[in-house]
Structure formats: C-alpha cells, structure tokens
Symmetry: C2
C-alpha cells in the first residue's frame, strides 16, 4: 500500500503515474471504509480523488493554498495531509470533521460548509499574499453546483480584477446536490461538448483566462494541466469534467441519492438502516402535492435541497411547473417568492435554517418591506437539527424574528404545523415563516386553531397560577415535562403557554397573568441572545415578575451530542427546576 507511507503531500511527489493510479484506488478503499460505516458526502469525494492527487503532486501545500468550496470534496485532501487514519481506522473516525478545518491541519485554511464561498475567500488570500509581498499559488476549488450562488458569481466577477496568480478549478460533474438549474449550465455543457473551444464562454465573459481538461479523473492529464497553470501570473479558470461518484457503480448511477449517503453495505449499496416512521419531509411533501393539485397558484420552491421537504425526483416531476428548484440561489428564491406573491400566486420556499442566512436582505427588502404573502419553511432550525459548526440551526430566531412585518410561527406539534401552513398559504396579508418542528413528529388530539390572522395571540394550554411557562415551538414538550415536575416537586400548578408567534408579544395575556403569577419561565430552541425570551424579559423588566430565559448560549458549537448541549445549557426539566428553586 502506498497510502501507508504517505504522511504529507511531499510523500506523493516521488511516485510515478502508475503508482499514483494505484494510490487513487487505495484512497477509494479508505473512502469506502469510512463512508460505508459512518455515512457522509460520497459522490463529491469519489469524483475528486484523481484531481486531489494531481493537485498535491503539482502544487506545494501549504505554501500553495487550496480553498475547497463547501468542502464536500476534501476527504482525499485530508488523507494526503496526515489524516488518513480517520478513514482506515474505525477508532479514529472522530479525528476529523466532514469539512476543511484549520484546527486539524496546516493544509486547511478555512472552516467551510456553505457553498459558493471559495472564490471570494481565495481572492482574499491572493490579496493578502500580494500586499505582504509573499509568493505561492492560491487555488480555489469549486463545483459546478456551487457556481449558481450569488457569492460565487460575485467572486468570479471580481477575480478578473486581480492582476496576479490565482487559479480557480471548476470541478464540473454536471450535478448540484440534485440536478443543476440555471442558464449557465447550458454554457458549461457547450464548453464540455466543444472540449472548451466554444466561443461563448461564461468565464471569459467574466474576464477570466480559461483552460479545459476533458478528463478530470485522469491523473496524467490533470498533472499536465496543473503544471501549465502553476505559477501563472494572472487569474485563470481550469474547467475540468469529472464523474460524480466515480468508481462505485451505485453512486455513478444514482448521483442525487449518493451525494450524501447513510451507512451502507459496500457489496450492494443497500442502506444499513432504513428511514422508518413519519417525518416532516414526507408529510410536508404530501401536503404540498395535494395543495398544488387543488390550486394551480400554489408554487413550491427549493434551493438545491429539495428532498429536505420530501421532493424526491418523482415528486418533482409530478408537481410539474408548480415546483421550482432554483439550485444554489437562496437569494433569488426569496425574491422570486415575493414576486410570485405580488402576482397573486401562493409561493412556499423551504430550506435549512442555516441556509436562510444567505437571504437576510431578501427577506427584509424584497419580502417584508413589500408585505408579500409568501411562506418560508425553516427546516432543521433546532438543537435537534444539524450538528456541524457550519450548519447550525440555532440562529434563525434572532436573525429573522426581528425583521419588521414578518410573522414567524413556531408550531409545537404536527397538527398545529399544518394548520399554520395552510393558513399561511391561504392568507394574503403577511410574509410568514414557519419553524418546522425538529423533535420528531408529535401528534395531538387537541383541536388546533385554523386562523392565525390575529397576530401575536399566545395560547394558554394549561391554566395554573404562580408560575407561567412560555414554551416556544419544539421546546414545548420540555415545557410540559417541566410543568409536571413543578407540580410534583413544588406543589404548584403552573400555567403552560404555547406562544405560537415568535415575532411578537401577546401584551394582553402577559398583562393578565401578572395578577396571579410571580415567575415566568421562557424556553426556546435557539440561542438566547436576540431571541424570543429576551422580549418577555424586556416586557416585564420594570415589574415585580421574575423572568427566567432558557435557551442556548451564543456560540458556534461543532459536532455536538444533543444531550450534552442541552445539559450544558441547563435545559433539562430537572436543571431548570434547580436553577429556579435552589438558587
């Protein structure tokens, strides 16, 4: 095995082409071991083995610097830069994150997990190198799927202004997470079809030099190309065609399913565990499919993560022109939703909490200033959501709920979620966002309201006294447990409140409970700073009511265990009780 002897990129420079090809196969066996047992980004990593070998063969990392876009494709890079044990040795799997991480290696420069950032970050490394009078190649590595994002397009447009060494590798596998969307992909195809000779060239139209590599899974061809551009004195795009999932038949055939994959049997490709039971993705999809069937003005929009709300390929096809995946283009998605709403349509745009971060200005300017009645579905907005530092769903409450005109709703169970969603789609006064619960599909036999047009009306679900618990969204169930615990331990029967509205205060209810309550506890599934509970604290600030806000600390956590982080933030019912009654 060559891989055994490779501890840093310099160790591959003495290998010949046959040895490098053997190394590629060894690397794939390492990828297979980790990914089949643990899951992860399969397709992007399998497709980029040869290119990573060639990059490290030609360039001299870390003096030459690689910036991986979204860094779904950085596993081979990790193997070649001292982190191979995290692939070949089960016990070392936890050594690494799934993304580039400067804390792991001097060969990584940024923690990256959102798409479309590499070119701009790398432009900064170029500029920093130049003003400091240093040398070395700066190489951004971006997949075709990431190209449609606004930040990437801004970066590519700007790059042409740099008058020094800068290499942008466009890894074109003709796929985003799902299929690509947008006009530029026609041009990428024309460039692939003409082996780069097509006169009309997006990259040249943005002022950049250009080189085409027809087989991005051919190490010899790649080495030749990289040698040509190494130490170049101006920015250039190296556009290479690769095969997503290369080397593993199931992944080459079913590219979308194998972009990210759960643990599987390497012999058959079958998943080791199957999704079972209800989930909000499929339920949301079923609801929207029915809704769209009955009403041609309903339009579902996603941005490169359609299965997030259950829109698998067959559902997308069945929905026809009422379904739009915009690709990586969340800014466009929100602004377009505003336009659809203004034209009398009923748009629903869904993505992850973390990806809504790309659309703050569009939510504010395009949507809320214009009071366009569009619906935003905010997914994995929770401590129970995604656990990587770049994908946390803990910040959307402060980010979105303080934007005027937006009605941000937090359902506490399945029936309430769909009642809110249905109301939102049918009303025509407000931009509405809904935080999809993330603590499992919990049903209720309580009748939920079907009309949410009287904004900021909280709901008392258990009438008690002395203590009121205002438990937001999917922390409502913690509120229930806490109420039980308080009854049991303190002999007080607390009032339990489902606030439902994140974006405002039910002043009349809060005034009313003043008379027979002395303690108010708030619970929210997100950071406390700028969040929901602080608004309650402000409201009662000058009164005698004691307010306790429970939620998460403002920090970037990484790869956490839910139980640990709940405990670290005093969020179990026992801890909450102890904070208040034993302080």
């Amino acid at each position: 095995m060559y891989i055994e002897k490779i501890n840093s990129p310099s160790d591959i420079k003495s290998l010949d082409i046959n040895q490098l090809n053997t190394l590629a196969a060894e690397i794939r066996s390492g990828l297979m071991k980790r990914l089949s047992k643990r899951g992860g980004h399969f397709g992007p990593n399998f497709g980029f083995v040869e290119a990573t070998i060639a990059l490290h063969y030609v360039f001299d990392s870390p003096k030459d610097k690689f910036v991986f876009d979204v860094s779904h494709q950085c596993y081979t890079h990790k193997m070649l830069t001292g982190r191979k044990e995290a692939f070949f040795n089960d016990e070392r799997f936890n050594d690494i994150s799934g993304y580039t991480n400067p804390e792991e290696s001097e060969h990584d420069f940024f923690k990256v997990g959102h798409t479309s950032t590499s070119v701009s970050l790398a432009c900064g490394l170029v500029k920093g190198r130049d003003v400091k009078g240093e040398t070395g190649n700066i190489v951004a590595i971006i997949g075709d799927g990431s190209l449609s994002g606004g930040e990437a397009l801004e970066g590519i447009d700007f790059a042409a202004e740099l008058e020094s060494n800068f290499i942008i590798i466009v890894n074109d596998n003709d796929m985003s997470i799902a299929e690509n969307h947008g006009g530029l992909y026609k041009n990428l195809k024309a460039l692939r079809d003409s082996e780069g000779h097509c006169e009309c060239n997006l990259f040249r139209a943005m002022g950049l030099d250009y080189l085409y590599v027809s087989d991005g899974n051919n190490i010899a061809q790649l080495i030749e190309a990289f040698k040509k551009v190494k130490d170049i004195d101006h920015p250039i795009v190296v556009h290479m065609k690769t095969v997503k999932g290369k080397g593993y038949r199931p992944a080459e055939t079913h590219k979308e399913e194998w972009h990210w994959h759960m643990p599987f049997n390497p012999e058959t490709g079958e998943m080791l565990a199957s999704w079972s039971g209800e989930n909000y993705g499929n339920l949301t999809c079923d609801y929207l499919m029915q809704k769209m069937k009955n009403d041609k003005s309903v339009v579902t929009i996603t941005a490169a993560v359609p299965t997030n709300i259950g829109f698998t390929e067959d559902k997308r096809k069945a929905a026809g022109s009422q379904f739009i995946d915009v690709g990586i283009a969340e800014e466009h998605a929100v602004a377009m939703a505003s336009g659809i709403a203004k034209a009398g349509g009923k748009p629903v745009f869904a993505t992850h909490s973390s990806f809504f971060q790309r659309t703050y200005d569009q939510i504010s300017q395009d949507l809320c200033i214009n009071s366009s009645p569009a619906t935003l579905l905010v997914n994995t907005a929770s401590v129970y959501g995604m656990h990587d530092i770049t994908h946390l769903g803990l910040f959307d409450i402060p980010m979105m709920s303080n934007i005027p005109n937006l009605v941000y709703l937090a359902p506490t169970n399945c029936e309430e979620y769909f009642a809110m969603l249905d109301w939102s789609i049918e009303q025509n006064r407000y931009p509405v966002a809904i935080r999809i619960p993330c603590n499992g599909v919990i049903h209720t036999d309580t009748t939920e309201d079907t009309d949410y047009s009287e904004i900021n009306r909280y709901r008392i679900t258990r009438q008690g006294k002395d203590v009121a618990i205002i438990a937001l969204g999917d922390f409502y169930q913690i509120g229930e447990k806490l109420a039980d615990l308080i009854s049991e331990k303190a002999g007080i029967s607390p009032t339990l409140i489902n606030p439902r509205y994140i974006t405002g205060i039910d002043t009349s209810m809060l005034e009313q409970i003043r008379s027979d309550h002395s303690i108010v506890i708030t619970l929210e599934d997100g950071i406390l700073d700028g969040g929901f509970g602080e608004k309650i604290s402000r409201f009662y600030g000058s009164s005698d009511i004691k307010v306790y806000n429970f939620g998460l600390k403002k920090e970037f956590v990484d790869r956490y265990a839910v139980e640990d982080i709940l405990r670290a933030n005093n969020l179990t019912p026992d801890q909450i009780y102890n904070v208040i009654w034993h302080n």
Copy 2:
C-alpha cells in the same frame, strides 16, 4: 407642453416621434426643477428619460409590468404615471418617494431601494402570471452597476429556466455609482464595441436570448427594439447603451458626483449648500490613508459607495492597490476580507448598515466561524442616518450582534471611534465591527482606552447611585442629558455607563452595581427587538432591579423626521424621565 396633458401612459401613445422628443425635453425640465431644489438621483434619471418614454409607448402598463432595479431611475416613469406634479410643483414634492412605491401608483409593483433585486422579483411576476394563466409582458430594468450583485446574477442565471415571456432591459451607462468593477464589465464593453455581435456574451452564456440597442437615448431606435421583443415567448436581454446624466453637461462630465446630487444652481451646477466642518467620512479616509501608508498590509475595501468613508476618486488613486472597491458585491467583500485577514493582511470593509444586510451569511460563516480578524465599519447605522424605508440603519444591532465570535463596538465620540478602529486593525484575534457614530463629530477631552482586547468591559463614566443609565453608542449623549435631568429633577445622582461592546454583557459590572442601584435604564440607537437593552433585561430578569429599555420600535418607517421618530419612541430625556417617574 405635452407633459401637461399626460396623466397616464396611454396619453403618450398618440404622440409622434417629434412630439415624443419634445416630451423628453419637458421631462428633463421637470427633473431639473425637482432635483436642483431638492436633490436626488440625478445621473440615472437623466440617462433613462428616452427609454422610459419608449417603454410606456410600446408596452401597456400596468397590464405589462415594469420592475425597476434599485429604482434610482424611475422618475420619468413617475411623471408619466400620474405623478408629474411632484416634479413641476414645489408644493407637491413630498407626494412621492425617490423610489418605486405601490402605495403611490398601480404602475409600481415593489418598494425597492437596494440594488440587484429586479430580475428575481420580476421572475416571480412571470411565474405568478403563468401559474394563474394570465398574460402581459414582464419587464425588468437593471443598470449595469447592479449586475455585479449576487442576487442579480442568481436571477439572470435562473431566468433562462423560464419558458415564457420575460424581458430584461440592461441599461448600460458604463458606470456604477462610482466606476464599475469586475470582469463582466469587460464583456459589456466588448458587446458595446461590437454593437452586440461579440461571440462571447455574458447573457448568452447564462442561457438568455439577446438584443443590442446602440443608442439607448434615441426614442425611435428604442421603440423599434421594444416592439421586436413585446409579447416574446421566452426570456430575452435587451442591452442598451445610455449616457448617465444625459442632457446636462456637468452630470455627463462628472458622473460619480452627479449620481446623487444635493440641491444646486441649474445654471452653473454649483451646490447651494456646501459640506462644511468635520465629518466621519473624511476623518475615516484620512486615518486609513495614513495607516495604509505606514503599513502595506492594511487594505481598505468598499462596495460601490467609496465616498461613504471619504474615498473620492483622488484618494482611491492615491491608495493604489491597498484600496479595493468591489462594486455592488457586499457578499464578496466580506468573504474576501476574511481571506485577507487569514493571509495576515489587515482588511477594513466599510458600507452602510442597510447594505450589511446583504452579508449576514458571510459575516457568520466566512468571517466569524473562522475568527478572521477583519474590521467592518458600519455606517449610517442610526436613526440619524438615511430615512428611506429601504435604507434604514435601525436593524444592524439585532442582525449582527447576535452572531457568535463577532465583537461589535459602539463608540460614543470621535476619539473613542479612532481608538477602537486602531485597536481593531492591529489585533489578530477577533472579527470586529464598529458602528460609526451618526450624531455629528463629537470630541472628548477624556482619555480613551487604546486596548479593547478585554472583551465586554463596560466603562463607568459618572459614578452615582440608585439609577444606572447604560447609554450605547451615539445615544450616549442622550444618556448624558438624561443623567443631568434626573439629577436636577429627582435629586438623584445617576451612574452613567458607556457599554462600548454591543455583543456582550459586562456581568461583573452589572453584578456590582446591583448593591446600590435599583433602576437600570438602557438606551440604544436602533430597534429594541433583538437588540442590546434586552440582554440587560434578561440579565436582571430574576432580580429586583427594574430595567427600562429605550430604543426604537420594530417597524419599517419611511421618510421620517428625526425629531418625530425620537418623540414617537419616548426618546427625549424628558420623555424618558416621565415614563419612569410618572408612571
């Protein structure tokens, strides 16, 4: 005068070409009247007179719908759609805003003031029209300066997916607010130089059909072009060359100065009032010029509004490669700043509070997760800043201050601002944002700290008891007045605190003042929701301290008078006193 008889677009359809040309001259006289007396967007409006006439001549607004990007160029449209009195009659100037506004007219569809949004909004109108089975042309009108923005590029890329009528007018005057930046402008030039025949074509590379109009200030030529594309069955770009400031020599000659202009003498072009005295724009520029001269690793970045921090053309030239204007590309600017910082450079990026809204995700992901020591200067972040609904500086505290790892500083005077800025540039641990004061340049003879590395240390500036006033940033001076008033009226000598740090709580000071204070008052220049004061309320929530938060209500206000909005929010010292002592 033809304009006298024009009350709706249908009134111009019977005019012949000579009459339309005369109408253009009349419209310019109306523009001149309003702009010379009141100020406003000069260059964009003077350049787009003929195109607007031709659009309304050929298309049938409001069935055919125009979406003006940033809407700096919508004045002629306003004149032709029933709002001409706001130009010709001084007393009616206040009838209109400077931007499109559906509350003014059925011919306007969106409130717009940020750039790069038109294509996506219009895509939404297209989709809404189509799913509802309606007809009519949808026309987006975007300037070349707006093209570099990520939202615009996402929209243009997506537009090619629409398989129905959609017309994108690219109004190319070869200028942004300042000069254009980015590689795509080379392609626009190549297209202009070749009269649209250049094979390499950005718009075609993004999958769109294309038509070139060589003289976008020639009504006859424009009518011919628009007739060609009217009722077209697919998306097309109409790329037209216009002259910014057309018809007024000073504006044609000094395009940047005349993009937006203060009131002036129409005979000479001279401003009626001159900027006098100190302002933070010039002071910041002088400081950065000196800093860059002494340290080659300092890089100043702006995004199409360089004069915002005093970087006029001569200063930009003098700064050389240490100054970068990225054009409309704020996302890129922040990410690049992170890269520069990682490479050991010292980047400073400045723009308006309202434009930082475009970069939430870059601040979070590219900058703060990576703890890159870049400096962000947040300008017009204040009730004293810009008063149009689309440019409010009231939201950056909730938006930015709740992002982990960011240190957001609020100086209270000139010396403190520059002490903070200097510390920020020289330190290498934190991403730092600084809220430039907006209440005039106030000097102090107090010695300001030069080291802010001990994060979240508030400063007691007057030691008193019973009442503590925590007065943030440029509301510190209100805090001073309030302290005086309380001393005078209540005979209490309050403690006055300059918190300096927006992003955190000085828990030890807040604990310490508990012993001899019973009331804490917070003051902040922004909305209360998600802001600074609520964090103080949370801190004291379960204590006996009474906390009163003063700041602005969460709402989109438009064209307000500062005194009115301060009064409406109980923000004068008298009002604050009355709220607390007479409730």
